[in-house]
């Protein structure tokens, strides 16, 4: 892809180097020991390249436990504003209820939080894209974490016989419905991350069933 401003390889910024350096060690985690970061972003729109993040919510999950003490929730200052999107996530341009940070601060804090853990999201490609474009604006390469997607994983749990439309895309709301998860705080980054985390746990238990499922089998990259 040609991007005029970063056509020549730059030396990545310090914060990214520190982040990238952690990946040198080989990772041999399994389901019980692996740490998953379930995350979601609220944005000004649905175009990963054009739109900007307004908030990031992330939770850490190990085994079957979500530890609320290590969670991540930030609201981001942006010049761009979209009325349509605001109607969905309810984040206003000026809101005194929570402190906002700059995009740079948010991305740095996020990289620090996730380390080398496995990222999980619903339609995670979009959220990873949002972060990657933010990284790019800071002159840094893309995320290096392994990731997986609850939308894709859920599809694997549905028996072939029951698939009426093979191209169906499962929304997070569909998952709430199917997996019996309460929709409190839907369309808040943190709320969606929490819902996704519960969905992830339930999907995993279905996928595991009686077979031996290996961690690498659920990763998408």
């Amino acid at each position: 892809m040609y991007i005029p401003f970063f056509s020549k390889k730059q030396d990545p910024p310090e914060f990214y180097k520190a982040y990238a350096a952690q990946f040198s060690k080989t990772n041999t985690a399994d389901f019980d020991t692996a740490r998953f970061i379930i995350f979601d972003t609220e944005t000004t729109g649905t175009n990963a390249r054009e739109d900007r993040m307004l908030s990031i919510g992330a939770l850490a999950l190990t085994g079957n436990q979500i530890n609320l003490a290590s969670s991540f929730e930030l609201y981001v200052k942006q010049d761009m504003f979209s009325e349509e999107a605001a109607a969905i996530h309810g984040i206003l341009r000026e809101n005194r209820k929570y402190k906002k940070v700059t995009e740079e601060e948010a991305v740095k804090a996020f990289l620090k939080f996730i380390g080398t853990d496995i990222l999980v999201g619903h339609h995670v490609g979009f959220d990873v894209g949002i972060i990657n474009y933010a990284l790019k604006r800071l002159g840094a390469p893309k995320l290096k974490n392994k990731f997986t997607d609850t939308g894709v994983l859920y599809k694997r749990t549905v028996h072939l016989v029951n698939i009426t439309n093979p191209d169906k895309v499962y929304t997070l709301d569909d998952l709430c419905e199917e997996l019996n998860i309460s929709r409190t705080d839907r369309h808040k980054a943190m709320g969606d991350a929490y819902i996704t985390a519960l969905a992830f746990l339930k999907i995993l238990s279905r996928l595991k069933g009686n077979k031996k499922l290996k961690l690498k089998n659920i990763l998408l990259n």
């Binding site: 079957n64 979500i66 609320l68 709320g191 929490y194 238990s205």
Partner: protein, 634 residues
């Protein structure tokens, strides 16, 4: 940092005890440290004998079953639903799990770290009250059981603050000490001689350090120090100190905060003044977790009846506390009966010691009436009897004389403890109720085959007996014979059933309460005769008919009947529940007015209480109807 999920968790928790008593800030602080756990159906959360997780659990979604494994079969102790709390007790008592827990259905739990919760909890009286209630019973959430019917909950006595916050911590004043130049070996010998787990090192009466068993493990057994070194090498220093008379809550907070198990009491609360005492973690545990256990121990060690009386008075206070905590009545009954039973046994042991000769033959001491049914909560009369082994005719008189003498001593002791003499003289000291096995058999045969008005009066007392002391075989033998005779005389059931329906429904035609029309208690409602007795009588005749053994208490009888007769399950279960509610009501009335609680002044009841009493009466009506049909009484 803002945490949306923690806020949701707090929103959820604040709907349930004990979290509802916490301020929003404390609650949010706890919620922010919560672990959210997901369990598939039947996945274990913890197992018996597992070391405790450092957190306890609240069910967010789904349900969890708590069970014990008996002979490889799981026996369910409790099912926890949304908002119920479990796995807390082992954290406080620092024990391993006694029960196993598994997800009964797909469940989401909140795990709450104890280290965070406890200091916050101890600052709140209501929370610590809740914790005590949890300790005292084996159920995970004492509020959930009987609260489901919300019976008599408006009855609120002021919560007993002295229980926890203000109660002074007990500590030992006779402390084992040594000087700083003592060798480790000498200190260890001193400790083992006194059989204690710690020794305080003092210099000019001021505490400079402490050595506990743990130091011997960590610093001597590991070879780090030699036993000929002075104690100063291995002691922990400085010691944590506190001034005189700390409360239980204070002492525990300090221990928690400093992660120590011992606390020195000094004159001015600093290590620079004279050492006065030592509080150990054990002292704290004893003072708030295991009151009934301590009382039982006291009973077993009592050398004089006066001591037993002290215990019985303490039991009364314990009862009040439990009622204030709104513990399930079945739990209260269990605990109090254990202690009452132990008191009776001890009183008999002491009485036997006063006899000049050992008993001439085997005998058993029986408790009758409410004691026999194990439903005694308040002080009541003593009803008891002795059955002794068959002896040759020429020895009969002397043998009976011996046991009557024993009974006199024992009933006097019981009287001293606080059980009044029976006005109708239904006590083992009466020759009529102190007989040999064969005489007793004859007596019961007469009652059963030739029922008279007297029988009906006596049956209420004599068909509810339970073994207290002595030879169990005699009692089993007697029961066998009674059931056999009953088998041949089914008419007797009819007589008993008739007796059970003799007091009509407690409500008049206009659904008003029927009150006493004359006598000392004019215009009072007799809760015993009109509400409790019909249930007790019904349970007795039905369980005799089913040949139920070893279940004497009315609630238990109804529960057992519910298992046996599936078609009447609902009636029996309602009766069991109504009985417990009424008994609790009577007990509370008794405590309030310092009497037997039998007569209730209707004017003092709130409208809600009256309504709830009436609800219990529905069960009485139903069970009386069942008896009428079954025994053809119309």
């Amino acid at each position: 940092m803002k945490n949306t999920i923690a806020e949701r968790v707090a929103d959820f928790l604040k709907r349930y005890p004990p979290f509802q008593f916490l301020e929003p800030d404390s609650l949010l602080q706890i919620a922010g440290q919560v672990q959210v756990l997901y369990f598939e159906k039947d996945k274990p959360i913890f197992k018996e004998k597992d070391t405790n997780h450092t957190m306890f659990y609240v069910v967010k979604d789904g349900a969890v079953r708590l069970f014990r494994t008996v002979d490889n079969e799981p026996k369910i102790a409790d099912i926890c639903d949304e908002g119920d709390l479990f796995g807390l007790r082992p954290l406080i008592t620092k024990e391993d799990y006694e029960l196993s827990a598994s997800a009964n259905e797909e469940s989401i739990l909140y795990g709450i770290p104890i280290d965070l919760f406890l200091p916050i909890a101890l600052e709140h009286k209501e929370v610590s009250n809740f914790l005590i209630a949890t300790f005292a019973s084996n159920v995970s959430d004492p509020y959930s059981l009987e609260e489901s019917g919300k019976l008599f909950t408006e009855y609120s006595v002021e919560r007993n603050s002295e229980i926890f916050d203000l109660q002074k911590a007990r500590y030992s004043k006779n402390i084992l000490t040594c000087s700083p130049d003592t060798t480790i070996q000498v200190a260890a010998k001193k400790m083992s001689h006194r059989n204690v787990g710690s020794i305080v090192v003092i210099d000019a009466e001021k505490p400079v350090g402490i050595i506990t068993n743990r130091d011997f493990r960590d610093r001597i057994a590991t070879g780090a120090h030699s036993i000929t070194d002075p104690v100063t090498k291995i002691m922990s220093t400085p010691v944590r100190c506190f001034q005189k008379d700390p409360t239980v809550a204070q002492a525990q907070l300090i221990m928690l905060k400093n992660e120590v198990n011992h606390l020195c009491i000094t004159e001015d609360g600093t290590p620079d003044s004279k050492l006065l005492g030592l509080i150990t973690e054990h002292d704290i545990m004893v003072s708030f977790a295991n009151n009934p256990v301590v009382l039982l121990k006291e009973v077993k060690l009592a050398k004089r009846t006066k001591r037993l009386r002290d215990v019985r008075l303490k039991v009364s206070r314990l009862l009040k506390k439990y009622l204030d905590q709104n513990l399930p009545l079945s739990q209260i009954l269990n605990i109090l009966n254990e202690i009452n039973y132990a008191i009776a046994v001890r009183a008999l042991e002491l009485s036997l010691k006063k006899m000049e000769t050992p008993p001439p033959c085997k005998f058993a001491w029986l408790a009758l009436g409410s004691q026999g049914r194990k439903e005694q909560l308040l002080f009541t009369d003593q009803d008891n009897a002795i059955v002794f082994d068959n002896v040759p005719e020429e020895e009969y008189e002397a043998t009976q004389a011996y046991f009557i003498k024993l009974a006199r001593i024992a009933t006097r002791a019981m009287h001293k403890v606080g059980y009044a003499y029976c006005p109708a003289d239904m006590m083992a000291s009466n020759p009529r109720w102190c007989q040999s096995l064969s005489e007793w058999k004859k007596q019961y045969d007469i009652w059963i085959t030739d029922p008279s008005p007297e029988t009906q009066l006596l049956s209420a007392i004599f068909f509810d007996y339970s073994y207290v002391f002595g030879d169990t075989q005699l009692v089993t033998n007697l029961s066998d014979n009674i059931l056999l005779t009953l088998d041949k005389n089914p008419m007797f059931y009819r007589v008993m059933a008739k007796d059970a329906i003799r007091s009509p429904s407690p409500l008049g035609f206009f659904r008003q309460f029927l009150v006493e029309e004359s006598g000392d208690h004019k215009d009072f409602f007799d809760v015993k005769a009109r509400a409790l007795m019909p249930l007790i009588d019904a349970a007795r005749v039905l369980s005799l008919n089913h040949k139920l053994r070893n279940i004497n208490n009315t609630a238990g009888r109804f529960e057992r009947l519910a298992e046996l007769e599936a078609n009447n399950k609902e009636i029996y279960e309602n009766c069991s529940y109504a009985f417990k509610a009424l008994l609790k009501f009577r007990t509370k009335q008794g405590i309030l007015h310092d009497d037997s609680g039998r007569f209730i002044e209707l004017a003092t009841l709130s409208k809600a209480e009256k309504l709830k009493l009436k609800r219990c009466f529905k069960s009485i009506h139903d069970i009386q109807e069942l008896l009428t049909l079954r025994y053809n009484l119309k």
